[in-house]
Structures are given as C-alpha cells and as structure tokens.
C-alpha cells in the first residue's frame, strides 16, 4: 500500500515537472501595466552603472522610451549575462534590454521583438601590436578575448579557428586582461570597443578593423528578448519601436550616445 502511495507521489511530482517544462502560457488575457526589464549593467555604452550606481546607456534609454510610448510603467533589474535567458524564462523579469542579438539558437528558448539596433563586430589590439589585419592567418596562434556566451565569442571561434579564444564573464574583464598584456586582441561590438579605446582605461589599445556580421551567427540585429507566448507584449514592443523611430525619439537617444546611425538597414521582410 505504501509503495503504491510512493509511486503515486513520484508520478505526481514528475507530472508537475514535465508540465512546467512544456507549459507555455499566452499573455492574451494579461494586463501589461507594469513591465520588469532585465539588463546587464556592464556593457558600456549600451548598458552600465554610473558612479552613483544608476543604470544608464542606450539599451536602458531605448527601453524607457518604448515603455513611455506603450504607457507602461517599467522597472529595471540587473542580471549577470550568463543567466539572462533562464531568468527571463523563470519570470524574474518580463523583457531583456541588454544588447542581445536575435540569433536562431536563442530563438529556440525565447522570442524577440524586431531589432532596435544593429552594429558590426570589431577587433581591437594593443597600440604596439604587430597584427596588421583581422584575418585567421594574421591571428594564428594569438590569444583573443571575448565575453562568454555572446555572438562575438561564437564568431571569433568561427572566424579565427587557429587563434586561442579566451572567454570572460563580463566585458570589463577582457578589457582588464588586454591592458595587462595577456591578450593579443579582443573582439566585441564596434561601438563598445570604440567607446573603450577613447576612454582613459582603453588608452592601451586601438581598433584594428570591423568585421562583416555573419547573419548565421549574428542573426537579425539586437532586439528586446521576451518569453515565448507573450505575443501581446511582443506586438506592443514592435509597435513602439516603429513609433519612436518615426517621432524622432530614437534619433534623439542615438545622438546622445553616437555620432552615426546604429539602426542599420531597414529590415527587409517582417
């Protein structure tokens, strides 16, 4: 009798586990008056904490503008890059605004709004480096730093198979390590690297060049990450992106951070 109970209990537990694994609620009936947004806070100039510990950056400003347009109250939380997608899926927050590229691998787990910017990757090297170009032959046997589980780390492995790719938890750490002379090059978004080499900390280094963004790795640009099933919220974000592009809010925010267009080409077919 007890054995039967035990087995019944086990079955119930596994049913709950299996159920939670496949459950994918729709947000059709949900009232999105408040939205919690997750970001990293360690990826200047897109998202970072200023000296006072406040979240700043292009991602944050754009997300805030989208929320204002959607007439939704948004709160921001910081989350380590590594755990961003699991945290979204566990509903620790409802949207990711952290310069996350829309890639096929990520789209298996979550869904994305349309892109809100798209900039190419680049390589930076120490100023006295003997590396002349960003090719596999030039980088053979060299050590390249990138941030873990980013499209850039993945692209570095694909583009430079003869180089040694080291992966760091945040962008801050690979920057520290190229200053310390442990790295021959670093790979990241061109905007991130440009901002950095302009700053005091990045005085060690220069931009070697930008690289073409392979759509197989980089996908369709950077979007707002959302849970699968939250179609209503996705539609709200998509509408808001178009709206802030049209009413000039986007350009105003862009001009605050950059002196060039970060949106890239208009998406072809949606």
């Amino acid at each position: 009798m007890r054995l039967v109970h035990t087995i019944a209990l086990a079955a119930a537990v596994s049913a709950i586990l299996a159920g939670s694994a496949v459950a994918q609620e729709s947000d059709a009936g949900k009232d999105w008056s408040t939205v919690k947004i997750g970001t990293e806070g360690a990826y200047p100039p897109f998202n970072f904490l200023d000296a006072g510990g406040n979240l700043k950056g292009f991602d944050v400003d754009i997300a805030q503008a989208l929320c204002d347009h959607m007439k939704v109250k948004c709160t921001f939380v910081t989350q380590d890059w590594d755990g961003m997608i699991p945290a979204l899926k566990n509903s620790n927050f409802d949207a990711i605004a952290a310069s996350m590229s829309i890639t096929p691998e990520r789209e298996k787990q979550i869904t994305f709004s349309n892109k809100y910017y798209q900039t190419p990757p680049a390589i930076a090297v120490p100023k006295d480096s003997d590396i002349k170009e960003a090719t596999d032959t030039a980088l053979k046997g060299k050590t390249i730093g990138a941030q873990v589980s980013t499209t850039h780390a993945q692209a570095a492995q694909a583009l430079f198979p003869d180089a040694d790719i080291k992966q760091y938890p945040t962008a801050e750490e690979y920057k520290l390590d190229i200053e310390n002379g442990r790295l021959d090059a670093v790979m990241d978004d061109v905007v991130v690297l440009t901002e950095w080499v302009k700053s005091k900390e990045g005085a060690c280094c220069k931009i070697l060049g930008t690289l073409p963004a392979d759509p197989k790795i980089y996908g369709k640009g950077v979007g707002i990450g959302l849970r699968q099933g939250d179609d209503k919220l996705k539609a709200m974000f998509n509408k808001a992106i178009v709206a802030i592009r049209q009413d000039g809010t986007y350009k105003k925010i862009q001009d605050k951070y950059f002196d060039f267009d970060v949106y890239g080409a208009e998406p072809t077919a949606q």
Binding site: H5, L9, S14, K166, P169, N180
Partner: protein, 270 residues
C-alpha cells in the same frame, strides 16, 4: 553472580521498525529520484554528447590535473607551515599563523581574482624578475592560488595529525638513540598519515568542487566547458552532466580512500 551485574553493557536494542516520519522521508527521496530520472530521460539529447562530449572530457582532464598538481604543491608548502605552527620560535609561529589565517579567512574567489587580475597590474615587476611567463597563464594563476589555499588547510590537517601521535613515541625513539629527524620522518609521520588520511581525502573533495572557480579566469576546466556548452544550447542538462561527472570523481575518490585506509590500518585490525 547474578545475571543483572551493573557493569555489563545493555544488549544492543533490536532495530526499530521505520516510523511514519522515516517512511515519508524515504518516500520523498524515492519520488525525487524517480522524478529526476523521468525528467532526465525526457530531456536527454544524444546529439549534445556528439557535440560536446570531447570538450567535457578535456574539461574533466583539466580539472583532474589542476587539482592533482595543486594538491601536491600544496602538500609540499604545507610541511614547513605546519612545522612553523608548532615551532617554539615566535617569528616562525607568527608567520605560519598569518599564512593560515589569511588563506583560510578569505574567499578563494577573491584570492584567484587577486592573483589573476591583481598581479597582472604589476606586469613590469614580474617581467623584471622573470616570472611573467608564469603569471601570464590563467592555468598557472589558478594552480598558484589553489596550491596556496590548500596549503593552509593541509598545514592544519598535518599539525593536528602530528600532535595526535602520543609523546611516548618521541620518547621511545629518543631512548633508542635516534635523531629527531629520523624519529619525525620514520616514526611520527607514518602514524600521523594514517590519522590524516580521511581529512586529506576531504580536502581533495573540497578542492575538486572549489576548482570550478577557475572557469571565471578563462580556464576551460569541467565547469568552464559546461558553461560553454550551456551558452550554446541554453539546455540545463549540460549542468546535470557536469554534476554527474563531479559526482563520479568524488565517488571514485571515496572508494580509493576506503581502499587506502583498509590497507594502511591492517596492523590495527584484530
């Protein structure tokens, strides 16, 4: 002499049948095990083994070699530290105490960061003394921190074990005209090692798990490879695999210790 002599120990109580709390506890564990097995077979994906199997094995090798080498280096460093802790000389005692105090009192992650990023700031100094090749490599930095950390713990294990050997052993040795060195290495240490065996095994187990920290300074140990695999798949079973491999490692070590103990204590068995 009657049967109720006060000094005869009470017979061992017959084994009590399981009470309700015990049954529930066992039931919960069985249910959890079944639920886990069901979950794991449900999500199990053989193509992932094809994709990441080799990197897991190489990660396992890095973990095993790193822990082995740092444990041995730590053992060598721990001997003078343990002797310092027991010395009559105040300076030696103070230095040894400070060493143990620092490495046991601060988190390993802080020590590793200090060595990897902190020492990197003094690259010029390390180059001038010809040690930069060592501190340039993340693997050596991990080895250095782990070895010093475990040396502090091992010194305490060693000291406790040596002090557990009765004074009479020293006196007996001296009465035979043996020198202090001979008594120490041939009489005291062998007996102390039997006492220290279990704590040493414990220390290795703790190190195996603690060594996962080196993944954040770009060493691709078992945990580093796991993070890689997870970042490419967002599939939690990659972490389950790592857990099972760590478990297997610890289990193997446990059996090895049991075997060693049986063998080393043959003379004590009656």
């Amino acid at each position: 002499m009657s049967g109720n002599h006060p000094f005869i120990a009470a017979p061992i109580a017959p084994r009590q049948p399981l009470k309700i709390a015990g049954l529930i506890a066992i039931g919960v564990w069985i249910a959890a095990a079944i639920a886990f097995a069901v979950y794991f077979t449900h999500v199990f994906d053989a193509t992932l083994i094809e994709r990441f199997g080799w990197s897991y094995l190489s990660g396992l090798w890095v973990t095993v070699s790193l822990v082995t080498v740092s444990f041995l280096c730590g053992a060598i460093v721990s001997l003078p530290v343990a002797l310092g802790r027991m010395a009559t000389n105040k300076l030696a005692r103070g230095l040894a105490f400070a060493f143990v105090y620092f490495f046991r009192g601060t988190p390993l992650i802080a020590q590793i960061f200090l060595v990897y990023y902190g020492f990197g700031e003094f690259r010029g100094f390390f180059e001038s003394i010809g040690l930069w090749w060592f501190f340039r490599e993340a693997w050596y930095c991990g080895l250095f921190s782990l070895a010093l950390n475990t040396a502090a713990y091992q010194a305490e294990i060693l000291r406790g074990a040596i002090e557990s050997v009765p004074k009479g052993q020293w006196e007996g040795g001296r009465s035979l005209g043996l020198s202090r060195t001979v008594i120490f290495f041939k009489i005291v240490i062998p007996q102390a090692m039997v006492v220290a065996l279990r704590p040493y095994a414990n220390e290795i187990i703790l190190m195996i798990k603690a060594s996962a920290i080196v993944a954040i300074i770009t060493v691709y140990d078992l945990f580093g490879e796991t993070r890689q695999a997870y970042s490419r798949t967002y599939d939690f079973q990659t972490y389950v695999w790592a857990a099972l491999l760590y478990l297997a490692l610890v289990e193997a070590l446990r059996h090895l210790t049991n075997f060693a103990e049986r063998r080393l204590t043959r003379h004590l068995r009656r």
